[in-house]
Amino acid sequence: MTLRTRARLVALVSSLVFLALLGLFLYAYRGKLQTQRDLALTESLGFAITQLRTALFGFLVHPQAEPRDQVRAQFRVLTHLLQRQAPLIDASIRHDDQTRFAWEAVHRLVGESEALFAELGGARTDPRLAERDARTMDLLLVDSHSMILFVSQIRYRAGARFLQASSRENLTLGVLLAGLAGLGLVLFLVFERVILEPVHQLHQAAVRVAGGDLGLRLTSRRRDEFGALARAFDGMLDQLQETMVSRARLEAEIAERVRTEAALTASEAALRNAQRLAGLGSWSWDLQTGVHTWSDEIFNLYGRDPRLGPAVYPQIREYFTPASWERLAAAVEWARTDGLPYECEAELVRPDGRRGWVVARGEATRDAAGTIIRLSGTVQEITASKLAEQEIQALNAELERRVEQRTAELQAANRELESFAYAVSHDLRAPLRALSGFSQALVEDYGGRLDGEARSFLDQIQSASRRMGELIDGILTLSRSTRGELRRDPVDLSALAQGLLAQHALAEPGRQVVWEVAPGLCALGNASMLEVVMVNLIDNAWKYTAKTPAATIRVYAEERAGELWYGVADNGAGFDMAYRARLFQPFQRLHRQDEFPGIGIGLATVQRIIHRHGGTIEAEGVPGSGATFRFTVPATGRRPESLCKATPS
């Protein structure tokens, strides 16, 4: 509701209330006036009746003509008064039975009295009517008495009504005054609530806004003018706050831009510096305007005077050798037409004749429609690295040549060595056989004639011959062990071990050896070579546990640092780790021959084979507690066990 409507409503209600109260008061006041008139009427009526009674007494005392006329005149006065005042008193008696009765009684008594008075005096002519006259006088006395009393009743009731009307008038006046005071209070309260309070709130809000509180909002729900004013105020604050925020944002943007420009300047300087140091220049080519932009370093790289500005596209060919330009131009054309980025090494020919190498890179930029609008890229000097590369290539070629040469020499030496070893072994075997054969023949043919010492010498010769034969076999084995092509085939080490151990057990049924072979041990390598490895290691384990009561041999595999290690462990004689290095040297033994016979060529052979496969072997032992040999056979990316499963040996 708007203030105007509310004000009209308040005015209307106030007026109605005031008019109602005023109407009540006027009604009460009118009632009081009416009762005042009634009182005045009864006063005059009472006065007239008293006059009548006085005249009547005068006549009764002196029944003569003049007093009679006075009575009659007074009757007329009284009758006239009653007739004249009848309409006035009618309003009073309308609702008052007693007053009406009294009024009608007075009216009736006046008439009756006048009639009685007219009948008076008959006894003067007829003495028999004396009693009648006496009774008439009694009636006149009583009637006049009654008239006075009835008028008194009227006056009494009029007085009562006057008091009531006065009280009512006072009450309504009080109500009127109280109503006016109440209306004033209500109007003040309404004024305060509807106008003063919102004005105060607006004032407070304005003061707070002036103090900088732009976040303040009145958010009034009123639907009057103050509500509209509050909403306009809030809208103004919204605009003001938005303006302030925009201004702050603008200031921040300006500051940021200044910082960015400074950083850009510094960055450009750094870039120039970096480009200069790196021999790297940048360029761009606006395909729509045809404008070329070069960084300083490009001018430097091309040996072009910066004052000339960037060279346009076709002219730039003069800075390259024809071969380089042909490749570079093709790459640039692809970038222009297909948007393909390119990186192209090209040889420069500078105006002063200096040559150099650069790597030119470029890429295309498209607009929103996908049209290629710009090419940009870099040109980096690579002359130094190009020269170094050429030099490295030359060195590599020399190195390869020398390696090939040395390899050939080595292969020749190896072949020679193998031939020598074979020859030695083969050639030595003939005299050895002779030596052994003749000593055998000597024993057989002349054994009876030889004394004990001679026989002992012959036995030692035979023994030495056998040993020498073994040594020659060992050398031959060693020399042959790594011969041939290294093919990598899946080899089932578990099956090998099981077979070897079973053979040993069959050969020496008296031995109580417990062995444990992990299943599925598989390696990729030369099958015969790896068999030699397993034969040597199993033989050693079997041999060095000969004196161990509860001999145990374990063949297993384990993974260490991502590498698969195969192991053969026993609890036999073991060895002193201090002599570990001698283990793998040919013909080196850590045990006496009579203790554990052998020539000391097995482990050397094993090491060579493992090394040939690119693997590693190691030994671990404790004297009296056993030894463990572990080796690796690099599988070149494939898990050997899976291959074994696929192709079980």
Binding site: D97, F101, R132, T136, V142, S146, S152
Partner: protein, 340 residues
């Protein structure tokens, strides 16, 4: 939820209304004194009418009276019944009171409640009675000791006659119409409904004569002398009830006539003649005293009753009036000169 709340609200409202009704009823009942029994001897005459109206319209009960109305043919008989103790209050005209006071019988008038000019003399025209003066030498019946007797005196004396100029035949009110019709008497001085019965009995042969304003009888409420002091509350309630009855009668004249006839067991036709001359008004005024004195002078002079000593002094009728209760209710209605 809403329905149950509204039901609860309605129930609470009904309960509150019932509680208020009970409290108001209790207050109303407790604020009222218990009803008082009252036996009234009421004449079947016009003067008895207002009491019958009061009873039939419930004004007596409304003021807390359990009233029993006993009808009597005339006020004189009602007064005698009251004095015998058959009733506590009697309605009666002034003449029996005057005669009783002269006989030294104590009583108290507590109020006049009506005045009437309805008395009339009904004469047989065939007996040559065309005017009051024609009564000379004729037989006129009248109920002795009633207001009819004094009315006859006023009627005669106003015309210069006396009771000696004719033959006054004592005739109970209830027998008057029959006696007149039978020609046992030539005229009857009576009041309604007996005067009306006489007119009806004679038909066109009837001639009526009235004193008009020259004789106005008063109907009074009379008790034993100790009654107002012994039963003050009943006295006040009776006066209040009669006052309410009078107010109602002033505004309902026709209805009140029917009610009075029904209450007294009288035909409306016989009561109607006097009803228009009846002026109900509760009061005790000096005119009543004047009338009593006039009638007492007549009674002494005419030796109307056997017990009246010749030349006896007039009694002070104010001793026979107890204006206290009425003055307590309506002081403006008590206008007797002298003793309050």
């Amino acid at each position: 939820m809403t329905i149950s709340r509204s039901i609860l609200g309605v129930l609470a409202g009904v309960a509150a209304a019932a509680l208020i009704a009970v409290m108001v009823t209790a207050w109303w009942q407790w604020g009222r004194a218990p009803p008082e029994p009252l036996v009234l001897a009421v004449a079947r005459s016009t003067f008895g009418g207002p009491l019958w109206v009061a009873q039939r319209q419930g004004f007596l009960a409304a003021e807390g009276l359990t009233a029993t109305l006993r009808p009597y043919p005339t006020g004189k008989l009602a007064l005698e019944a009251m004095l015998r103790g058959e009733a506590e209050v009697a309605t009666v005209a002034e003449t029996p009171l005057v005669l009783s006071s002269l006989a030294g019988i104590p009583f108290s008038v507590i109020a006049n409640y009506a005045s009437s000019t309805e008395h009339s003399l009904v004469a047989r025209a065939d007996r040559g009675i065309a005017a009051v003066t024609d009564l000379r030498g004729h037989r006129v019946g009248v109920a002795p000791g009633t207001s009819g007797q004094y009315f006859l005196h006023v009627l005669l004396s106003d015309e210069g006659l006396t009771e000696a100029d004719l033959t006054v035949v004592p005739l109970p009110a209830a027998e008057q119409a029959a006696a007149l019709a039978a020609g046992q008497v030539d005229a009857v001085a009576a009041f309604a409904p007996y005067s009306s019965q006489c007119r009806l009995a004679l038909g066109d042969n009837a001639r009526s004569f009235s004193t008009g304003i020259r004789y106005t009888g008063y109907g009074s409420l009379v008790t034993r002398r100790d009654f107002p002091d012994r039963r003050p509350e009943a006295t006040l309630r009776l006066l209040r009830a009669v006052n309410r009855t009078i107010s109602w009668m002033r505004t309902h004249p026709d209805e009140s006539l029917a009610v009075a006839a029904a209450g007294s067991g009288t035909q409306i036709a016989t009561l109607r003649d006097g009803w228009g001359s009846l002026t109900p008004n509760l009061g005790l005024d000096q005119g009543f005293i004047v009338l009593l004195q006039a009638e007492a002078r007549w009674a002494i002079a005419a030796q109307v009753a056997p017990g009246i000593a010749p030349g006896a002094a007039l009694p002070d009728f104010r001793d026979f009036i107890n204006a206290g209760p009425l003055a307590q209710l309506h002081p403006e209605s008590v206008t007797i000169v002298g003793k309050p």
